[in-house]
Assembly symmetry: C3
Homo-oligomer: 273 residues x 3
């Protein structure tokens, strides 16, 4: 199943429009190319509707959010909805400021997202419409563990039902769910959190997978999450004692570039609940 999701990205090479932050944008572009998709970045209100129209899918990422790009996010999202293109939301730092929380909430109100991907703290803020987070990483108290997994799955399914989107919470254990079904994914490595933007990269890649697999949003998102985690593991094994987070970043993107559909099928480590 996972296998086909990646094959379709490689075969169709979907063009993905990204309105994203300037911190991790280069890595987002390279990871899209690595998985077989093509990136285009455009955030001016005067062109986002046209740009999104020539693409297959859209990622909206609110890192380094600013007043100039919020209307562009809304316009691009609405246009994508009109065209039936899948839209992925990455609510980076929701809860860290009123601007980010209120923008995320406005986006949720006005745009039908196919996928919402964040860490557990960000997603909790979205479910409540307010709350605080401590920056761009998940609060320790929120983390999904084996002990609270069942509760977390219920929470994620409920938010999927409310939003009509597939919800992906990533962390030590990832949960990808629609209203009925959850993938609990145990790929990845803790050191991935020592690289800036692995979450942003995954959101961009999820847009590619979902775009290339219409009608299979849940499976495609789960496949993207497994891809990122599995390649985090592969890249970790490649590391020498001199390597650190900068090389690890490169190795993960390299691993995605080289990942075969069969490897993904074999290496994806998940259970369904």
């Amino acid at each position: 199943m996972m296998k086909e999701m990646l094959e379709n990205v490689r075969n169709q090479s979907p063009l993905i429009h990204n309105i994203t932050n300037y911190v991790t944008v280069n890595d987002c572009a390279n990871i899209l190319l690595a998985c077989g998709a093509s990136p285009i970045m455009a955030d001016d209100i005067d062109e986002v509707e046209e740009i999104t129209s020539i693409c297959g899918g859209l990622t909206i990422n609110i890192g380094t959010l600013n007043q100039r790009t919020i209307p562009a996010m809304l316009a691009a999202g609405r246009k994508s909805n009109e065209l039936g293109h899948p839209v992925v939301l990455d609510p980076v730092g929701a809860g860290a400021s009123v601007l980010r929380t209120s923008t995320a909430m406005k986006l949720l109100q006005e745009i039908q997202f196919a996928v919402i991907r964040g860490n557990v703290s960000e997603i909790k803020v979205l479910t409540q419409g307010n709350g605080t987070t401590k920056g761009v990483d998940a609060d320790v108290s929120d983390r999904v563990t084996e002990e609270n997994l069942e509760q977390a799955v219920t929470f994620v399914k409920a938010f999927a039902q409310k939003t009509g989107a597939v919800i992906a919470i990533t962390g030590a254990i990832d949960i990808v769910a629609d209203r009925n079904t959850a993938y609990c994914i145990r790929n990845g490595h803790a050191d991935m959190s020592k690289i800036t933007g692995t979450g942003c990269q995954l959101s961009a890649m999820a847009a590619a997978y979902v775009t290339a697999n219409p009608g299979h949003t849940l499976e495609a998102t789960a496949a993207a999450v497994c891809t990122m985690g599995l390649c985090g593991e592969k890249a970790k094994r490649r590391m020498t004692e001199l390597d650190g987070n900068s090389s690890y970043r490169n190795y993960i993107i390299d691993a995605i570039y080289n990942l075969s559909p069969d490897e993904l099928e074999r290496g994806a480590n998940y259970e369904m609940r």
Copy 2:
């Protein structure tokens, strides 16, 4: 000939002003340093004229174009023209939106460019003043091949005559031409298109070569294109089976850093038409 072009960059270390997109800007800065030049990035209308005045050349790149920086592009371009500094245009995504096409056309009207570098689809849009492209990559139907090369050369020379600029169309076969003479260059590797921003990087580097070689714009641009392609080949040979597009990006910049003028002279693979 190629050899002297690179030697002059290394010896003069020209300072290059870049008004460019936020996706590939870091790679543009590092490739300028790699070839022996120095980068400065500045895009605010209140400083671009001063900044460009202390530089030797200017690159204008319309990726992630926005309303804030268009007047800055025009002001910097005009100032550079006044000062006799060479200006390079990279019309990223011209044809993908009215904003990009009309901005590129306005830049062409108001600024005398020394070099215009793009893929064949972008350049076709500029010749027509309209048209559509499918994102930031060339359309398959437009591609320069051995079969249509002579026709493509004629097209490029005509656009060079019309604009007074050296035109560089890069792809599987690169064409660099003024009104009279074309270099048809067969350096490079297809996998370079799997890295974001190799085109942007080349445009920035072309500005450095042209700035360090006044009176030799055609040869300097051809040398920059050969440098990029040759280093794409060298970097490709360095790749292990674990490497992908992220390492390839690093290896290309590394190869430029280490390229000797003699290696460029020997490795440059071109014919003149």
Copy 3:
């Protein structure tokens, strides 16, 4: 002494707010993670006060300065001052334009900085309130050498007295001083200037060190400067003949990721004046 400074960063993992340029921002984020801190980038006037409030320290870097972010820099700086958070200024390109010089002077007037880090030309411009620099690199005529070191130390201490900040001038010999005491640091490698943004990265890292070591601003800044220089040396030793500035960038960040406090203590090469 140096040792404890790094240990405190690793143990406390300070969250650092960065208002910075879009050229080197990704490297700034990754170097903060490499040394054990956490980054958050935010530059919109509507959120910077909130964001800086959840952080421990702030870096203001004026590369790619624009009118939109200047009020955000001032607001974030004032808020950090109110909260007693250390603020680091990196006056990138001060002297290269009136916009940069006047903004740097305004920031100096309105915000109490804990640390000001730049190259010698930038710092000279700040002491005078005007003057010119040739881009983002120090002018050759300004450079600190063994011959003019004593004079440079006196100059730096005087500026530290005037501003109440620790001043860090980095170059072949680095000087880190408050009004009374200067560290003259001989770590680093000349090739670090062939990578874009090593200065920006150091400024971000200095914010992390100072934040994790309250009451020890001078020592913490000196430790950050030694860390960068020492890791520049370590990374240089790792380089093969195929490596250039792109790999060097990665290796420096990797080296910081792997640096032990004991290594820093042993490798820091400084004298006090």
